[in-house]
């Protein structure tokens, strides 16, 4: 195992992290800030990917597809918020869970009805194919680097929005006491619609970009959703910073665990057994990590009570 490979694996970890962050940021925003549990977040992820794939296929222009995909996701977000979520803010979290679970079913099957059961074709845009070479004679995928960059931008943008702008303050205030912020003259409803759309848009962005690297198919949102929840919980709900750190942590632990867990076990047991046990453990790794972190920091790394 060369240094170069180790460095490369660390890069891979960071990059998986940023991918997760793209998804988690929207979730933590809607969830921490509006106090809304949105299981359907994965559906926006899926929606983004499907629209992007379709538009790209018809126009042959990935970037146009990306744009439309993100907007579509946001638009769906607006509709969902307007028609359903609105009625659920003053209900308990549980009603939200049920409603958004229902939405998952509706979106997934709906996607079947529209697109059929086959996964769609969506590939990395020409400009970002192949890889660039970095120090330590590592060559690294251009597209993945681009995703890292995008993740960083989103992180900064959101951080500023929430903690620095008046809009951010109002959103947080609304989370504390909807009634009061209304009584002080802020139209919290519209505000929340905006935030929800933003969250959905981010999910769409994640779906479109990551879809090009993975697979665009029904149900693609669910595993990511779980991961994203893990991330925001580790980081501390509502904290963009937390989401970022959590995402990177999960990305690194997962990636490195997958590689090094078996390697370490090999020294104790026969190779193939080490492989299977190793990967068994590594697939539990992030959950073990989450449990441990929560056991000691019940509100995540950056969460506030």
């Amino acid at each position: 195992m060369t240094v170069a490979l180790i460095v490369e694996q660390i890069l891979n970890g960071l990059q998986l992290g940023t991918m997760l962050f793209l998804m988690a940021s929207g979730l933590t925003l809607v969830f921490g800030v509006m106090g809304l549990i949105n299981l359907a977040h994965g559906s926006f992820y899926m929606a983004g990917a499907f629209v992007t794939a379709t538009v790209t296929a018809t126009t042959g222009n990935f970037w146009l597809g990306l744009l439309v995909g993100v907007l579509a996701a946001a638009a769906i977000g607006v509709i969902v918020e307007f028609v359903i979520m609105r009625r659920l803010y003053d209900r308990g979290h549980l009603d939200q869970v049920l409603a958004t679970f229902a939405l998952i079913l509706i979106f997934s099957e709906g996607t079947y009805m529209i697109f059929g059961s086959s996964p769609l074709f969506l590939s990395v845009p020409q400009e970002l194919r192949g890889s660039v070479s970095l120090p330590f004679d590592i060559s690294y995928s251009r597209y993945r680097l681009a995703i890292i960059g995008m993740g960083v931008l989103v992180a900064i943008g959101l951080y500023l929005l929430i903690s620095k702008t008046r809009l951010g303050m109002r959103i947080r205030a609304g989370e504390n006491d909807r009634e009061m912020i209304g009584a002080l003259g802020v139209d919290i409803k519209t505000l929340y619609t905006l935030v929800f759309a933003l969250g959905a848009g981010l999910a769409g962005l994640a779906g479109s970009t990551i879809g090009a690297l993975q697979s665009v198919r029904v149900g693609m949102g669910e595993p990511v959703l779980i991961m994203a929840f893990v991330v925001i919980v580790i980081g501390g709900i509502g904290s963009i910073k937390g989401a970022l750190v959590g995402a990177l942590l999960v990305g690194l632990v997962d990636t490195l665990g997958r590689i090094f867990m078996p390697l370490t076990l090999v020294s104790f047991m026969p190779a193939s057994q080490a492989m299977s046990i190793g990967s068994a453990v590594s697939s539990m790794l992030i959950y073990i990590m989450m449990a441990t972190i929560l056991a000691f920091r019940p509100h995540g790394l950056f969460g506030s009570k």
Binding site: M169, L184, D187
Partner: protein, 226 residues
């Protein structure tokens, strides 16, 4: 400026107001009085559209606001200091003040002058403020919206006498500056000299309305238990 006519309000099935009348004229300070649970806060909630009145009418600055949503009512220039403070926990003092501020004579400097204690805690999160500090913050927050009519529900609750005197002085000043005020408070002593008009509620109805000077001992005894 504000006229409330025969409003009836409900909490779910249970009725809290059975026809309340109320009028606040420009530059006036009206005191809303009554024992616990008589409907003072409910009246205020109804004015702000938080517990919309099912019957009756509410007009503010010439507009009918009976059915308007809370934020649109507030934007017309109604500032609320709610019962039980209800500061925004997770925001800092400063953020609490600016988050909902609207342009006008009241700004941070002026609040700081009114409540020096708060200025010392600009960066502290509201949930860790002392009860009294929260009260000051709630008042400051309402003033920052630069209202035409300031509504205070038990605004001096839990304040140290010195501070309370401060606040009464402040309220006095505000009145001088022509700000109209509707307030609920138990301490008649400070209220009487300021109030232009007293409205006493009893079981969700108007029991008595008049000048503070006319508020005779037996009225006080009957309606306020003093």
């Amino acid at each position: 400026m504000l006229t409330v006519e025969q409003i009836e309000s409900f909490y779910g099935p249970s009725q809290a107001l059975f026809g309340v009348d109320l009028q606040v004229n420009h530059g006036e300070l009206v005191a809303l009085m009554g024992r616990n649970g008589m409907g003072k806060s409910t009246t205020i909630r109804s004015v702000f559209g938080l517990t919309p009145a099912r019957r009756g009418r509410i007009h503010f600055r010439g507009r009918d606001i009976t059915q308007r949503s809370a934020h649109r009512i507030a934007q017309l220039g109604l500032g609320l200091v709610p019962e039980g403070r209800r500061c925004f926990r997770s925001l800092t003092v400063r953020e609490n003040l600016v988050a909902t501020a609207r342009p006008g004579p009241w700004d941070l400097q002026r609040i700081a002058r009114l409540f020096p204690r708060l200025e010392e805690r600009w960066g502290q999160s509201a949930q860790t403020l002392s009860g009294g500090e929260q009260q000051m913050l709630a008042i400051g927050r309402a003033l920052m919206t630069n209202p035409h009519l300031l509504v205070l529900d038990e605004a001096t609750e839990g304040l140290a006498p010195v501070i309370r005197q401060e606040i009464w002085r402040a309220i006095g000043e505000l009145k001088e500056q022509g700000l109209s005020i509707l307030l609920v408070d138990k301490s008649l002593r400070e209220l009487m000299p300021l109030a232009d008009q007293c409205v006493v509620l009893e079981k969700g109805r108007n029991a008595w309305t008049g000048l503070p000077t006319e508020l005779s001992a037996d009225l006080r005894d009957r309606y306020l238990g003093v």
